[in-house]
Point group: C2
Chain length 153, copies 2
Amino acid sequence: MLRLTKKADYGLMALKYLAEQTGGSAHSAKDIAEAYHIPPQLLAKILQTLAKGGLLVSHAGTNGGYALAKPANEITAFEVIRTIDGPLFITSCITIHGACDLTSTCTIKEPLRKVNDSIKDLLSGIYIADLVEPGDAERSKHAVGGGLVSIAL
Amino acid sequence: MLRLTKKADYGLMALKYLAEQTGGSAHSAKDIAEAYHIPPQLLAKILQTLAKGGLLVSHAGTNGGYALAKPANEITAFEVIRTIDGPLFITSCITIHGACDLTSTCTIKEPLRKVNDSIKDLLSGIYIADLVEPGDAERSKHAVGGGLVSIAL
DNA sequence: CATTCTCCGACTCATACGGTCTTCTACAGT
DNA sequence: ACTGTAGAAGACCGTATGAGTCGGAGAATG
């Protein structure tokens, strides 16, 4: 159920890595890939996608690499996942157009959309900085609704 | 992101349909499929899975079909999804064994597991009966934490 | 007993994710 | 300016899995 793609996993790992490295110097895709033992070329492609999405800035050439485009506490897990996996939704009924091909017959669309939104809020409340310091209190100021996400059908 | 399979969709729709039909008489897979315009044979297979999982009872032969094995307010969306899609998790890191192949290097596993649990709680608070009567107050007595699901990294 | 209806398991097909390879472009240091 | 390094971008392939199909087994009714 509710599978997140490996690409998004890798992307989050890479961002966390970059967030940990203090000092704005760039880190190459190869370095990050080796640190986590993931395929370098695949990670490179993911980082490219993130750069194109505006979450990373790339710097070509010797001693080049990638760096965060924004502070780690301003990048949400939701942004990362959406950038990599695209604007997919919990159910095939919910499309970018907001209507499914069975709009008239599909009667569970609305409740599921609520669930979808709740999960979206959940992920929007998680920042890269939170991944770096899991026990830190800093995050709470960003957490959505103080860490609570409501669900009402 | 976070895609739910079409099968789970269909399964939820079918359960909702059965929950709406008052009177414990059985309804054939064909009837439900026609009501929602979904491939009959595919729905049949989904219903088989649900029956095998103990959520439905099947009755073969003329005038046979399926019926809910439990009251609609005792079947959660989480049960349905897990029965159909299997015990999958939000990320490939989180397996049934609890460990990923990169246990040592993958540092974002723990936060994501929390997210995974939150989503699980979210879905566990939704009952088939809630889908039938979206505006009903009845559901609130079942809702997890009064409709709130906490997320703390 | 036989026919019809329904469930049931095995099977095929398509999509897209995961991963790789190759080529081109841009920057840094000498 | 030259060269080596590193990113950018595209095509490409294998495989896993989701979506959908087909023939058979079993049960109830007449």
